[in-house]
Subunit: 355 residues, 4 copies
């Protein structure tokens, strides 16, 4: 007979609820709000552990070749969960902000030089999602790494060696079928469609007698500029390219975006969507965090000696991971101008039972 | 020189992040979602600890006689934090609901008979807020107590002996000054105002020739009924009373509600408001929890052998703590009918600097 | 040349922002919070219009036979939007609750007998989702209908004639392929699996010498009871059945729940999930609304003469639409006990490109 | 007899629900998501109207000299409501983001050159809160103004002439009593306390033999720098000052922050808090809005010809209104180092009844 499980034992509440050790208690100050500070950060770390747990399964499923359809469902499901957790993590700031700057000051100096920058799990999440170590903004002229303990640094390096979610996405997109349309490629078909669309626009402008000449010239120049800008998406090599994705992966992502309702790419479209959701919510968390730090410590340096909110705000701008996906929106054309899928491709993208 | 603090040590991440011990791992099943289940509940327990930490200070501040003005500010601040935490705790259900019933089934039976009903900290919160043990709905014909370990039961009993927040509120309200208006009491003045107001209503109905007789009778009967119902609030003894608050506390709460903008009762009004916020959000959590359980296990019994969601739904209805405050709304009359504060009372309720 | 569009004209702000006509202004009272009351309800009505707009497209897409795969993606997308809107609508209560009961009293009587029960659009949403008119709880002994104007009543009746989302779901589920497994049906295979699973459970109990006889009897009785209860799901006729869905639709929903990751039913699983989300969030809104009304007017009757929060609370319990889907969870068995899909069925459920 | 009010008439649903006129319907395209686009923006405008309604009362109450205690309660209450509305307005983005970039493209070009920058009410809110017209970042090299219609421009100018909430705050703070402490001013007392606190810090560093010389020098230099930076808060003139608040208002805000729990400044502290909440949530809305625009249109220019998200992001940084209040946190010292209130001042800050 199985030993009956008791709630408190199962959750290891003995350990969990004895892990709050305020520094201020040690010094006899007993700053009331230090408990809140500890618990908020511990709750963050619990959620970070869960995010890493999800990323583990995503990596296993998404690293396989091919990625099975069942696995795709699991991947999207897991990433949606990550997104929900990130939303919760943002909401936690509402609780933390019930601490006033003056109350924080009761124990702030005791924590030096500890800092949220030392959260190994958060660094792991960034790395596993695909933030390249070399793009990480140095902080206080020192690489973030230097603030980590040796063992944490090792763990971070080990994670850096594994393929990130970005890497897996890049490879998987590059393998997308359906882009060879027989006589021509999707790339060629889309390029022709773009050109036709822009030419029609130009023609309309030229043919409209009601537009004053000056405005006409401006609009025609705009269309010309658009034509040039579209070339970014048609490059077949990544030489000098500004994309982080491979050229064929960019094409695939564009294809999925345009034909998202076709059965075979429905899960792929959901994947791209949830990756943008994750990127956006993570960015939002960084930004709200920056605002909170500004409110909490003004222009003073953070507990880790950081110049605090300015740095955090910068990471919100520059520690983006899937910005290529956001950028794709620039290169869409209206539905009516999008090339129709060739019949054989269309058929391939159905479920068997529909044939 | 102080030893420099390291983030991971400060938060005891070694203990915290090694406290997840899935039962399914022990049996070799490795149910992926059990980690989520554990972490959600651990996050709950962390927040419960914080709530109890706040209630400790509130008890210390609010148990003093008199409650100083500084203490009042702290009490309201602390309870607002409890409210924010409860909102977060409700939001956590969004994350838990990313677990499907079918995935839950992977490990559900392994947890028997553990159950959320065994959360000592949650029971403590209920008790400390003021849920009287005798009104606790028995579950499965057994008192909830019987499901607790001996030490948890002892802790709960010990908490039951201390005055609850409800008790402290009741006593504090009963001490409210300002209710003796010289010649008459606030009670008498308000009773007269209510009667005058209702009499005027009746007169208007009687005097309006456009109202058909049948409707007139109905409206007059309604006014009569209102008159009777108001008597509930004017009783001077609590004999046979349906209020949990003392009669003089009911009067004080009513007074605070009506004259909320007077400096001396502004903090008191904020206190009543946040107590209703807490009651409401706790109720909402119980209800959402019930819905979630229904979705997760349908009509099956819960992990603790409970008939689950039906019980939870009942607690949402009946484990209310500050319902007397909600009920007060029934006994308000329009601003224009409310008796004016006598000048001496009005003066007493100002700040010194304004005099 | 197209006339350039101006923001304020496009949004018809002239009309929109002149549609707030407080009753209290008419009487010269100028109750400050009446504006909030009007605007909250107008915002509700705008969102209701959007929900109906989505339901229109869902009906068009989901009413077709067969429902194309592209249409399925649109349906799920539209319903996810409805769910997001409902979450916002719940959040609006946070704003409305900044109005105190005492401030509401400033204009409450002026609105009699208007009531939220008269929101035609909300009634339409309920009806279009599938709340059967005959199950609508009468209010104040009168059908809700009687409180509507003639034209609103007509609109509601007209909507009642169209197939509701529930009806469309029911028919669509009943047409699900994949349930005929050649020699046997999914129903038969699942029944055998359930029986085997429960028999194994009973055997384990009987074979364990560590279980005391009394406990053993109780557990065996539980298993027996489970066996009986499962029969509910295997009935082939809906005679005396307690399901609102057709027997074959129940089977299909169960099938989709168990094999949710197979490509051909992934969209179907998402559909069932979002319908439960909608039902749950709508229920939550009803419940929070009930709490808010209780707080706002205590035990007094609502502006429409309603006994208010008690009625609303009842609708939360009984105006559920997709409760059959929640109930399905009762009839799941662990993954390891679920019958494997026959190979030909499995193949049918793939995408073509995978064959 | 009063005419009975009907829900739909009261809310002017005839006008409200006929104010959605999609451009795409006019052209026969019928872009499904244009309805969502219109309704989201109309909901924004309704909430903006409510915010302006609250600001009207705040202005009336806060513009009086002196501001009565009752008025203070109303002001804080009203601004808390504004904050709740802003939170809702942020949440609305979750709904808008269910529109994909590709679906937006169906009608985007039809709206040119209309743009959210033309929302008169939003401009009014900014102006009334206190965004000075001259600090408004020009857009596309043109002042935002130029994009407004003549009547909208006039309305905006008229609002600019009235004292903004920032102005009212500035004047009101400057009138704060309690800063003259008899022999010395609060400014002097606080300056002495700061100097003593920093001197003690320096002494501790010098006296600790365990600190290596290099580190010691660095820490001493830091303390010196802190000393200099504190001078910003002690300036008695605003010449060359970097504060937008008057010097005496800065002092008052600091005083309120430090002695927040004293009865007479409790409402003032709540006021400063809610102003920071509003500033923060407004900033967050701008930022999330920028992210949403980036996602929706990539690098393309916005519907108003704007370079879109970059501009919005800049406004998040630079259209802050109450940043002086955030900055105050920089100048706090630990509770134990804060000068004690002189007894007469302390007495002045109580309620009469406490004396």
């Amino acid at each position: 007979m199985r030993v009956p499980v008791y709630y408190g034992d199962y959750l290891r509440l003995d350990r969990l609820l004895s892990s709050q050790e305020p520094e201020s208690a040690r010094t006899g100050i007993n700053a009331h709000d230090e408990m809140l500070f500890i618990i908020v950060h511990q709750a963050y770390e619990l959620w970070f552990k869960q995010i890493l747990h999800e990323l583990d399964r995503v990596e296993a499923d998404f690293g396989a070749i091919p990625v099975t359809d069942d696995a795709m469902a699991r991947i999207v499901h897991g990433l949606n969960r990550v997104h929900e957790i990130l939303k919760l993590v943002v909401a936690q700031l509402d609780v933390l902000e019930t601490m006033t700057p003056f109350d924080f000051l009761d124990f702030r100096d005791l924590l030096m030089p500890a800092s949220g920058f030392q959260s190994l799990q958060f660094r792991l999440i960034e790395t596993r999602l695909g933030l390249p170590p070399e793009t990480r903004i140095p902080f206080d002229e020192k690489a973030i790494d230097e603030r980590l303990s040796q063992s944490d640094r090792d763990a971070l390096r080990a994670a850096g060696v594994r393929p990130s979610l970005f890497d897996l996405l890049n490879r998987w997109l590059a393998r997308t079928p359906f882009l060879d349309w027989g006589g021509e490629t999707f790339r060629e078909a889309y390029r022709a469609a773009v050109e036709k669309h822009l030419a029609r626009d130009a023609e309309l402008v030229r043919a409209d007698p009601a537009i004053p000449p000056e405005k006409r010239d401006r609009e025609l120049k705009n269309i010309e500029r658009a034509t040039t800008s579209f070339s970014e998406i048609f490059s077949e090599t990544d030489e000098g390219g500004s994309w982080r994705l491979l050229p064929q992966s960019v094409q695939a992502a564009l294809f999925i975006t345009l034909y998202r309702d076709k059965p075979a790419v429905q899960p792929a479209f959901r994947l791209l969507t949830v990756l943008m959701d994750i990127d956006e919510t993570l960015t939002l968390w960084r930004y709200r965090h920056a605002l909170m730090v500004e409110r909490m410590i003004g222009l003073k340096i953070g507990t880790g000696g950081s110049s605090g909110h300015a740095y955090l705000r910068m990471t919100a701008e520059r520690h983006r991971i899937f910005s290529d996906l956001f950028r794709l929106s620039t290169f869409l054309i209206p539905r009516s101008a999008v090339p129709e899928l060739p019949a054989p491709i269309q058929k391939q993208m159905r479920f068997v039972y529909a044939s």
